[in-house]
Each structure stands twice: as structure tokens, then as C-alpha cells.
């Protein structure tokens, strides 16, 4: 259920045709009421139903964040496992346009919802895998689809309704030996483009998609990469000190990755302001391909100034 999800099938047509197929009670339109969209899902899930509640854009999640944090995230904890609320809270975002439609307030969210899984699929195939996994499980989760992904074509797996993606398992998208680049969501694609540029100057990054922020890299996959490359860049669209700082703390402190560093650990995030609506502001507010290139190149320059001169300064 969600806003414009019933009759229209949601703003990106993800539910197109489903209300006609399953009826207006199973696929339904709600009013503009994020707090009670989530609350409705919590109550339904407590009684044994399996609701998928949609927040139309990631930025609107802020309306529901209090209930997500105070209620949904604490259901199992405050009852010591005697109650559960397996809500799937679905949204889309990162880059629409403008101040209130392009946010990636990931640290703001994940720090308030310890007790809820936070899934950040890079494309629709991974998102489908998360939905399937979560429907097998018993726990609440937030799934943040990449809005821009609706403009990109993907190959449709034959088992789209069955495939599962495990939680807490990063995926190596590109192997490399020079710098480990850790990211998620919309930046996976942009970092892959930067990887091509870097390859042309002889730098091979190992690009890792964390896939879920909660739980985070349960088996230490990123540290194994760090053992190989000895350099790491944490990359996302959140504000400085946001989810990049979270990932950095997880890898370097919790998983003891610090001991394999030969260079300072780096983060590259969005800027400390909301993205401007105008196209230039949109480009500069969040990491772009050129910025990623420069950040990685600077790491290599620090380790080998002669081999990697700073030609862009």
C-alpha cells in the first residue's frame, strides 16, 4: 500500500496491473499520511499479515522516522522476542531533483533504525532478491531502490520471483589490486564509470557494493579486499560524516581493517547541503564520476608521487 500505488501502480509503475489482478484491498492507495502508512503496516504485521508499505520517495521517510525508530525498530527488543512486525518498507530515491527530493540521509536513517534491516540494492534485480529474502524472513526491513535505475534497462532473470540476495553480504563488482572502493546504491554505476577512466591511467580499483547497511558485511569481505589493496575509499551520497563514516568505522575498527592500510582511509560523500534543483547544483552536490576519479588518483599519488603526478591541479 502507498500513495498512488493502487490504481496507478506507483510513480514508477512497479505495481502496474496488480490492483486489477489482486483487488483494491491487497494493492491499495493510501492518503498522504506517511506516519500511518507505516503504522498501518506495523499493526497488520503484528497480526500476522505481510504488508509492503511504500514511502513514495526516500526523503519523505523523515515523516515516518519517529514511528520507525520508536516503534518498529524496537518491537522484538522491547518484548524480548514475544512480538514481531515483519514490515517491508519500500521506497526509492537518492536522485530525483532538488532540495527535498534528492537526499540520501542514510546515516540519519540507519542510526535511528537499529532493529530494522536497511537494504540498498544497486538495481532492480538485487531489489527483487531482497524482497524475496525478506518475505521468507520474519523481520522488518527498509528497501531503498535506486530511483535512476528505473531509466536503465536490465536483463530480466528467469527466476525473478525466486532468486534471493542474502543480507550482510557485499558483492565485488569489479576486481582490482590498487584501491578498494566501497559504495552502494546509485553510485555503483557511477563508480564503475570512474573505474573505466582510472583503468586508462593504469589504476585498477576493486569495486565493492555493500548491498545492505544493516546488517553490514557480516563475514568481513571488505577487509579481505583491503588485505590485497591496502587502500580504501568509502563512497556514498550522504553528507560528510554520514554513512561513509559508518562504513569506515565498521571496516577499520569493528573488523580491524586498520592494520592493512598503507594510505590514509578516505571518504568521499555528498556535500554538506541539500542538492540544488538546478543542474549544476545537482552535479556538484553529490559525488560524480570525475570526483571519484580524482579521489582515487590522489590516493595513488600519495603513495607514488612520481608515478601518478597530479595532472588535474
Amino acid at each position: 500500500m502507498g500513495e498512488d500505488l493502487g490504481q496507478l501502480g506507483d510513480v514508477n509503475q512497479g505495481f502496474a496491473g496488480l490492483q486489477a489482478k489482486y483487488g483494491p484491498l491487497r494493492v491499495s492507495d493510501t492518503g498522504i499520511r506517511e506516519v500511518t502508512i507505516l503504522g498501518q503496516a506495523i499493526g497488520m504485521a503484528m497480526r500476522g499479515l505481510r504488508p509492503i508499505a511504500e514511502i513514495q520517495y526516500l526523503d519523505y521517510l523523515l515523516y515516518a522516522l519517529q514511528i520507525a525508530s520508536d516503534d518498529l525498530a524496537t518491537v522484538r527488543y522491547r518484548t524480548k522476542g514475544q512480538q514481531k512486525a515483519p514490515v517491508i518498507l519500500r521506497t526509492r530515491g537518492h536522485r530525483l531533483e532538488g532540495i527535498w527530493h534528492s537526499g540520501s540521509p542514510m546515516a540519519g536513517i540507519l542510526n535511528l533504525v537499529r532493529g530494522i534491516y536497511v537494504c540498498v540494492p544497486r538495481n532492480m534485480t538485487q531489489a527483487a532478491g531482497f524482497y524475496n529474502t525478506l518475505l521468507h524472513g520474519d523481520d522488518p526491513a527498509l528497501v531503498i531502490e535506486v530511483l535512476n535505475g528505473y531509466r536503465v534497462k536490465e536483463r530480466l532473470p528467469a527466476n525473478i520471483g525466486e532468486l534471493t540476495v542474502p543480507l550482510g553480504v557485499p558483492e565485488v563488482l569489479r576486481a582490482g589490486s590498487d584501491v578498494t572502493v566501497v559504495t552502494y546504491g546509485a553510485l555503483c554505476r557511477i563508480a564503475a564509470e570512474a573505474a573505466e577512466l582510472l583503468s586508462q591511467v593504469g589504476i585498477e580499483i576493486e569495486l565493492i557494493d555493500v548491498q545492505t547497511l544493516l546488517p553490514f558485511d557480516l563475514s568481513g569481505r571488505i577487509v579481505r579486499s583491503l588485505q590485497k589493496t591496502n587502500r580504501v575509499l568509502f563512497l556514498d551520497e550522504d553528507v560528510p560524516g554520514g554513512a561513509t563514516a559508518y562504513m569506515l568505522q565498521q571496516v577499520l575498527e569493528v573488523q580491524n581493517g586498520f592494520q592493512w592500510l598503507d594510505s590514509p582511509p578516505r571518504t568521499l560523500s555528498g556535500k554538506a547541503h541539500r542538492p540544488a534543483y538546478g543542474s549544476d547544483g545537482d552535479y556538484f552536490s553529490k559525488p560524480n564520476r570525475e570526483e571519484i576519479f580524482e579521489a582515487v588518483y590522489e590516493l595513488m599519488h600519495e603513495s607514488d608521487p612520481a608515478g601518478y603526478p597530479l595532472f588535474f591541479r
Partner: protein, 517 residues
């Protein structure tokens, strides 16, 4: 306590014919109110002797046995003493914080009698009497939560993770599967932020509609019986200032779901009175736009009822719950003229912000006092019998508190503490009175143990002044007063919304109410 599983016992309690007994009871309550109104701020105007309006489908008193009424009275006093003792436990350092449901007991007795197995609650920290009336909470468990006992056998609501007054029942068994929720009294687990019980209440109610109307859900017999479950909500008057209250009410109205919401209105939110919480200071007025007109599909059943008027509360809860369950129409009960004898919590004292007149009125209209007066008026018991009940309640609460404290401390000291029976024996599944060690025969105090005489018998209860010396000035904004509904020139006794006209089958005199099991 032998509270019947279904409906009310059918036993004549007086020699008078049922309708006369009812009229007598209602009339007496009204007369008592008008005779004892204490101050000019809250007095009933002279000459208001007309018969108060009874709800159209009032439960005749001969459907409720004397034993059941006295059991309710005993439970209410046990709950009150749990509040009084609980506050002392905090102020003497054995617990960190305490917040209690004193002043709300009688309305919750009535609500519990409308609650059926399979129903759900989403409420807040004043609901202890309701939970105890269902048998879903024992006095020992209540105190264990006050002490934050981490043992889930002794503190089943939250195993010491929530502060006191946060109620819950067990939905899942040991492997995480659902119990048969249709056979239990269910309560979602409370959270502290007031108003936050409302959003999930939307879903708890809406689920009934889905279970009733979505064919693929028909076979889930452990979750619902044809969507016949009501989601009972409770909220305080001041929390109705929260945006999520209005959003939730609106959502339930749009979703046409079986919610029965009770607003416990004691005129304040901590120190801030209704005038500063709610436009016009009157929630019934504000909510009136949600009211369902006759024949309308959308909208709410709405009632206003005094929180000290036991027979009226019984009647209105029975009547409204039946409508909600059958028609999936949501309802709001605005329960007014409640009191808060100990103030908001152990974090303060209400003498700091309530006027002398207000405190006197609260003492006079304390729901336990009014219930006692009503019991005496209709001749259900003698004063000595009620005194004994009150004393026994106090003694029993003390016993249960001591037991909970002993077990908690013994465990802390590693002395093993009380044995922890498996969950099934502990009454956490909502069985009435199940597994409560304090209820074992012989738990009453031995003869000869002196119990302090509690004020009653028509005496004005002394106000509790916790601080000596000059009374502190009232807080901002100055010399406010809380306007009681009686100021509008109607008898205080039965401030019910008028019965809906032309309702099919609406009886004008008490007879056997339809629909009661």
C-alpha cells in the same frame, strides 16, 4: 476473580423490577452528584432534578451479579493500591521511576468487560486496571516491571527493558510462530512516546477488515475469526494534541475499520490543562465532525461518558463494542471527568499546578469514591463489606509487592530467587487469573493483622500534601480553571451523548440488550 468469559451473568440483584432498579440507580447517581458538588467552579446548578438520559440500549443492572460488581470494586482498589504503593516504592528509592493508572480504574473495568478473546489493545501506561481485569497482568508482574526485573518469567511484558506501565502480551511461542491469537487477550507492546500507540492501532484494526473481506486470508484461523476482532485503543486527552492522533483517527475513518478508541480525559497533560492542549478545550467538540450520521457508511460512533459512572460505562462499552464488531464501524469514547490522584508520575506532584478547588473536585469525583457511593446506593453491599474489600486489597497488594521485591533481590544476590515456572503457567496468555501465585488461597492477611482504615463512607478523602509549608504558586499561565461539562447547565451525572434517534431496535427502556452473549 470470577469474571465471566462471555457477557454478563444474569442474576437479579434487587427485589425491584429491572427497569425500576435501573432508574433508581441512575437517578441516585445523579442525585448524589448534585448533592455533593463542592465548589462554585464545578457545582451543578440548583433545580436540575430531571431524570438523566440513559443510553438507548443500557445494560440493565440485573444482568450483572453482585459478585461481579464487588469483584470489579476489589480489582479497582487493588489497582489503586498498586499505584499508591508503587509511587512510594519509587520515592523511597527502590525503583527509578513510576507512572501509574490511578484515577482511571472504573472506566477500564467497563472496557475489560467488552473485550473478547482475539481482540487487540494498543494503549499506554495508564492501562494497568484493564490488563489486570483481563488476567493478562498480575500484581507481582506489575511490581517486577517497576523494579525492572530482567527475568522474563517474572516480568513478561518487557523483561526489564521498558519502564513500568508498559504492557504487552505474548504473541509468539518459543520458535517464533504465532499462538492462537483468537483465543487470547492480545496487547501490542506499549511504547513511551505518547500518541505513538495510534499509528499501529490503525493497522491492528484494519487487519480485521482484511481478514473479513480478503478471500485468500480466510483460512488463517489462528490469526482471526472472520475479522470479528476489535482493536481497542487508549490515549490520554493531552496526547490528542499530537498530529499522529488526528492522522490516525482520520486514517481509521477512511479505512472503516473496527477500532474502539477510549480517550482518558482528566483535564490535563502533566501540568498543562485542556485549554492549552485542544481548541475549545473540548475533544468531543473537535471530534464531532467525525461522527457518523444515521445511515452514513463512513464516520465514527461517538460517545461522551463520565469516567466515574460505572453503570453508564458498562452500558456504553457493551453497546458500542457490539456495533464496532458487527459493522466494522470505528468508535471513539470520550471518557471525561477522570482524575489523577497522584499527578502525572513520580517526576512531580500535581499540587504544584492544580488549584485547591480542582484538587477538591478530584477528591470528590475520584472514580473509586463514586463507585463506592453507587454500590451503597443500590444496596449491593454494606459499608463494612466495602471497607473489608478495600483493606484486603491493600494487604494483598503489599504481599505481592513484597514477593516481587524478594524474588528480584534474591536473584540479584544470586540466591536463586523464586522458581520460574514455564511460560504457560504464568497467566501471560490472557487467561483470566491464570498462574498468579498471589491469588492462591490463603494469600489474604491473617486475622488480627491490622490494616489501616481507608477513608470512605462518605468522608472526604484527605488531600495528599507532599510538601509542607506554603503552597507553591500555580504554574503558568496563571489562574486557569478547568471547566467541567456541568457548567453548561446539565446534570453532571450522565453526560452521555444523546442516543441516536430512530435507530432500529433501539429500546427506550431496559430490557435484555440485543447482541450480548
Amino acid at each position: 476473580m470470577a469474571v465471566p468469559e462471555e457477557g454478563l451473568d444474569v442474576v437479579l440483584i434487587t427485589p425491584l423490577p429491572p427497569d425500576v432498579a435501573l432508574q433508581t440507580a441512575f437517578k441516585t447517581a445523579s442525585e448524589t452528584a448534585s448533592q455533593t458538588a463542592p465548589t462554585e467552579d464545578f457545582s451543578v446548578p440548583e433545580g436540575q432534578g430531571e431524570a438523566p438520559v440513559a443510553p438507548a440500549t443500557a445494560v440493565p443492572l440485573d444482568h450483572l451479579s453482585p459478585e461481579a460488581v464487588l469483584a470489579d470494586y476489589r480489582l479497582a482498589w487493588e489497582s489503586r493500591h498498586a499505584s499508591l504503593l508503587g509511587r512510594r516504592e519509587v520515592l523511597t528509592g527502590k525503583a527509578k521511576f513510576g507512572i501509574f493508572g490511578d484515577g482511571k480504574e472504573v472506566a477500564q473495568l467497563a472496557m475489560a468487560r467488552a473485550f473478547r478473546p482475539g481482540d487487540f489493545r494498543s494503549g499506554y501506561y495508564r492501562d494497568q486496571t484493564f490488563m489486570m481485569a483481563l488476567g493478562a497482568l498480575t500484581l507481582e508482574q506489575f511490581f517486577a516491571q517497576l523494579y525492572a526485573d530482567p527475568d522474563e518469567g517474572r516480568e513478561p511484558c518487557s523483561a526489564g527493558r521498558s519502564m513500568n506501565g508498559h504492557f504487552s502480551t505474548c504473541f509468539l511461542d518459543a520458535d517464533g510462530s504465532f499462538h492462537d491469537l483468537t483465543a487470547r487477550y492480545n496487547s501490542s507492546a506499549d511504547v513511551s512516546p505518547t500518541g505513538s500507540q495510534m499509528p499501529r492501532l490503525v493497522g491492528l484494526a484494519y487487519a480485521s477488515r482484511l481478514f473479513r473481506e480478503v478471500p485468500v486470508l480466510a483460512g488463517l484461523e489462528r490469526l482471526s475469526r472472520g475479522g470479528s476482532e476489535i482493536a481497542f485503543g487508549t490515549i490520554g486527552n493531552a496526547s490528542c494534541a499530537e498530529g499522529m492522533f488526528w492522522e490516525s483517527v482520520n486514517a481509521v475513518g477512511v479505512l472503516r475499520s473496527p477500532m474502539l478508541l477510549s480517550i482518558w480525559d482528566d483535564g490535563y497533560g502533566i501540568s498543562v490543562p485542556n485549554e492549552l492542549q485542544v481548541t475549545k478545550g473540548d475533544l468531543s467538540a473537535l471530534l464531532s465532525g467525525f461522527r457518523r450520521a444515521h445511515g452514513e457508511a463512513q464516520g465514527f460512533e461517538m460517545r461522551t461518558v463520565c469516567g466515574w459512572d460505572y453503570p453508564a460505562l458498562l452500558a456504553v462499552y457493551q453497546e458500542v463494542a457490539e456495533t464496532v464488531r458487527r459493522e466494522h464501524v470505528p468508535a471513539i469514547l470520550h471518557v471525561v471527568e477522570l482524575t489523577q490522584p497522584q499527578g502525572h508520575s513520580t517526576s512531580g506532584s500535581h499540587e504544584r499546578y492544580k488549584s485547591k478547588e480542582r484538587l477538591a473536585w478530584e477528591s470528590e469525583y475520584d472514580c473509586l469514591r463514586r463507585m463506592r457511593l453507587w454500590i451503597l446506593e443500590v444496596g449491593l453491599a454494606q459499608p463494612a463489606e466495602l471497607d473489608a474489600i478495600e483493606e484486603e486489597a491493600k494487604a494483598r497488594v503489599r504481599q505481592c509487592q513484597e514477593s516481587a521485591w524478594r524474588d528480584f533481590r534474591a536473584d540479584r544476590r544470586g540466591e536463586g530467587g523464586a522458581p520460574r515456572p514455564p511460560r504457560a503457567a504464568r497467566g501471560r496468555h490472557g487467561e483470566r487469573g491464570g498462574g498468579d501465585r498471589c491469588r492462591a488461597p490463603g494469600a489474604l492477611p491473617a486475622a488480627g493483622v491490622a490494616a489501616p482504615r481507608s477513608p470512605g463512607r462518605g468522608e472526604r478523602r484527605p488531600l495528599r500534601h507532599r510538601r509542607g509549608g506554603a503552597r507553591r504558586p500555580r504554574g503558568t499561565p496563571g489562574n486557569y480553571r478547568v471547566e467541567a461539562p456541568a457548567d453548561r447547565g446539565q446534570p453532571r451525572a450522565l453526560r452521555l451523548a444523546p442516543p441516536q434517534p430512530d435507530r432500529p431496535g433501539g429500546a427506550q427502556r431496559p430490557g435484555r440488550p440485543r447482541g450480548l452473549p
